[in-house]
């Protein structure tokens, strides 16, 4: 099954520069429908208002963290199947385990490069070249 590059992708990060960087990298890969949110609660509202094919979220945000957002998404029957990639500087094993237990689809450590992002998107969505 081919990847729908017109899918809506929600990028969540409290650093606007990071939102911009991820958006640009996604654009280079052919994904142009990218929305942004700067914390978990705003992201959750967007997810409930519009259909998204992927969430790419930072962890360390206030007031709602990326982990809490992930738990909310997995607990919502209408959102529970949305692929969720955590992109974060939190690089300890206990963080990865906690995210996995909460239902994360994949995990990228900051700082990351474009190739890593592409590999993870392929792993989550399938080959889109």
């Amino acid at each position: 099954m081919s990847v729908d590059k017109n899918m809506n992708i929600l990028v969540v990060d409290d650093y606007k520069t990071m939102l911009r960087i991820v958006r640009n990298l996604l654009k280079q890969l052919g994904f142009n429908n990218v929305d942004e949110a700067t914390d978990g609660s705003t992201a959750l509202q967007k997810l409930r208002d519009k259909k998204y094919g992927l969430v790419i979220s930072d962890w360390n945000m206030e007031p709602m963290s990326g982990l809490q957002l992930l738990k909310e998404v997995r607990a919502d029957s209408r959102l529970s199947d949305v692929p969720f990639i955590m992109v974060t500087a939190e690089s300890k094993s206990e963080n990865v385990v906690a995210a996995k237990e909460a239902g994360v689809t994949n995990y990228i450590i900051k700082p990351f490069n474009a190739e890593t992002l592409k590999q993870k998107l392929t792993a989550v969505l399938g080959n889109f070249d």
Partner: protein, 231 residues
Amino acid sequence: MTATKGSDVSARGENDPLRAELERRLKAMADEGPRTDPSDIATAVESVMATVEGDLSAVNLKLYAEIEALARYIDGAKAEIAEIRPDEIRDEHLPAATDELEQIVGATENATNQILESVESVEEVAEELDSDKAEKITNAVTNIYEACSFQDITGQRITKVVKTLQQIETKVEALLAAFGEEVARERRKRGDDSAGGASQEDKDKALMNGPAASGEGVSQDDIDALLAGFD
């Protein structure tokens, strides 16, 4: 109350007024129908008096010495605290350091946005070029995007430092208050911390440590292996 050394009632003279008073009271008790031999009670009272008086004197001496040493220690600590001028630290140094760090975050964010804006323009121009040139420019632009993510990482690290400064500020505030209050607060804090287990929310918050220092954390490969272990 004057401490008197314990002594045996029987060793006191016949005319000792204390002995006479004690015997009078014991006789009165005996006349009222005591269940216990008055002489046994007298012996017990004398025994307890002798023990208590002796111990109290030793304890008092030790206690006074400890309190005196503690008072000297507190005076010394107060003098040292006064010398480092905690009011200046609280009112000037810490706010200044915090402001400086916040300005660094703001400045790097502005600079990064300017770089990104410029690079986005270059990328748009690249779309008008032939494929070879466009590819070269796109690769360079991608490298710049990757490099610009430093702002996010440094921002998080600086935020950690700012939080640490805020904690120090709180501690200095406590030093400026009376020591007794500080001790009471610490005791209450310990009580709060030990009461009940940590909530799930607290456990989740405990996982937010920000970027790991060099040598801490794990690599992307390690994380991939860890994730694969769940499948």
